[in-house]
Symmetry: C2
Subunit: 358 residues, 2 copies
């Protein structure tokens, strides 16, 4: 059976001031929809019932996740006592799911991406399931056909075709590549053989645990120790004791780059990792002046701006190509092509002692 | 004796969203100081004690004025039941003061200008007093020596010198001129004989009432009727009944343009009518990046901006020559040279039904 594990560990500093230390991106609404995590949860209902859905999130956000997703069994929302990147988070999910069913197929989903339509997402999950029925030991990654030479994603280099599954093409994987410089990204895209690594994976629970035993044996040993307390009153204490000892590593670095058997499914849905405020502009059409306004906005001779007014009102006069984000206590005004620098700004804010606004 | 009448009737729409329908400009702080009305009140303490100081304001703002200026006798804060421009407001002040002392010198001060240093303001008031001792029937206007061809002020054309009073030059007045087009303003300034009408006046109470009898007889009759209730419990009801019947007219149009005997004192203080957010930039020196920030601000590669962060934080990335004003519910982002258009924006906001933000 397939289980869904939603990884909701992000801090979302790129969305400050809309996101905060205690309100990361996965809890935010972008445009008219539900918070991204709730959208993700709704989408995964087409793949597995709530009884087989898990969320791994920061310990501080467990209560908020349970409140947002009341259908989810409470013990399937697991709080990481410390941030350790995705390898420990995914290992934890695999350990919990394996305790129920070692042969379960685990679908790992980031909590904070946009995927439309949901039916095509379900089809991609079905493709992974069918592939794993035929090739049970592979680890599957979802690879997005690039629309440009993005330098913000890792790339998956496709190998020989493995056939179509659920009408989607699936390939062997030749290599995982880190985020490239732009020239390299152009080569990747021109080759037609490179796909964006969108952070969606599928594997049998036992396959991932085997790879951890081989590639991250300390993590695997810790997870085995933790597994002994699953279903007991000791679990929380054991998690708090063991998890912070795990090495901080991404699943890509820790497992995927050297995994023994891999495959890449190429979905046909529209994907947006909601990487900056410009994602707002992709989420809805601009008005007649080329402004994209989420919430209440007023524009006088203003063009090409992206506005998130929160619960308030943003008024623009004579300005162009800005991103303006209003919250009750903070306003961000950023040139549209400088959104990446919000992270730098947060460092500056911290250095200046504006922590209460972070 | 000299009485001070502070006219605090402004709606301050040019300062939206910092100013609101129920929080006009005179109640706002610009930079580090006290609210403009409190600064004005403090300044006029050098001219007359609180016992001889009056504030005429909108009825809706009486409580706020009393709270802001607790030293002021409560019955010297008078609320206009309707907005009728400055002629009725000044007539009301003159009527109230004349009831105590018809020979009193009345100094009319707008509530929302900046004047520094206060000692030079006191000297200008003294000049007016000394002039009125010599020429008791004149109405004195304070005329600011222009620093450029401003089109936003009325101009006072000076006539023959009347001598120096309190070491300040005083002239006869040839004419009052309305806000001119720019070409005309250039002529005015080039002539050296034109001064900005800064809205500060001094006169004996009886002189103004005589001019009203001559030029605005209906207003004068109404004020006389009102005067009968001064000091009685009927005053509030009479004010509410009579004031709304007064003609809406400025003191300039209603009295000054055709007054029989006028004089202009040329003060030597620095004057700023705080006409737009750019006044913030005149109130404090810019930082190394040329940004003027009131409140908490962060700037990354941002230059030449004027920021009022209110109680919050404004963060700028890569933007230039903007005015950014943050309040809890509204953010305004305006090109620096478009501040005058805030009024248009408010009309737009009203048309769009955003009244709760106005």
């Amino acid at each position: 059976l397939i289980h869904v594990a939603i990884v909701a560990g992000g801090s979302g500093t790129r969305f400050w001031p809309k996101s905060r230390a205690n309100l990361p991106k996965q809890f935010l609404r972008f445009g008219a929809g539900a918070p991204l995590l709730a959208e993700t949860f709704a989408r995964t209902r087409l793949v597995a019932p709530a009884a087989r859905t898990w969320v791994v999130t920061a310990a501080a956000h467990v209560a908020r996740v349970r409140e947002l997703l009341p259908e989810l069994p409470a013990d399937q929302v697991v709080g990481e006592p410390a941030a350790r990147d995705t390898a420990p988070a995914v290992g934890l999910a695999a350990t919990l799911i394996a305790a129920r069913d070692p042969d379960a197929v685990v679908l790992i989903c980031p909590a904070d991406h946009r995927i439309v339509p949901s039916e095509r997402f379900a089809a991609a999950a079905r493709a992974a399931e069918e592939l794993l029925a035929r090739h049970p030991d592979r680890i599957v990654v979802f690879g997005i056909r690039p629309t440009g030479p993005a330098t913000g994603y890792g790339y998956v280099e496709q190998g020989a075709p493995l056939g179509d599954f659920a009408r989607l093409p699936v390939f062997d994987v030749t290599a995982f590549h880190e985020k490239p410089p732009e020239a390299k990204a152009r080569e990747y895209v021109a080759s037609g053989r490179f796909l964006w690594n969108a952070g969606l994976f599928a594997f049998r629970a036992r396959t991932l645990l085997d790879e951890l035993a081989r590639q991250m044996p300390k993590l695997r040993a810790g997870l085995d120790e933790l597994a002994q307390s699953i279903g007991t009153s000791r679990f929380g204490a054991e998690l708090a004791r063991l998890f912070p000892t795990f090495e901080r590593k991404s699943l890509d670095h820790g497992v995927m780059e050297r995994a023994r058997a891999r495959a890449v499914v190429v979905p046909d849905y529209a994907w947006d990792d909601v990487g900056s405020f410009l994602a707002l502009a992709r989420g809805q059409p601009p008005d007649a002046d080329g402004n994209v306004v989420v919430g209440a906005g007023l524009a006088l001779d203003a063009h090409g701006n992206v506005v998130d007014a929160g619960d308030g009102l943003v008024a623009l006069i004579g300005v162009e190509d800005l991103v303006v984000v209003h919250t009750g206590d903070v306003t961000l005004v950023c040139r549209r092509d400088r959104c990446e620098d919000v992270k730098k700004l947060i460092e500056l804010a911290r250095a200046r002692g504006f922590d209460r606004h972070l």
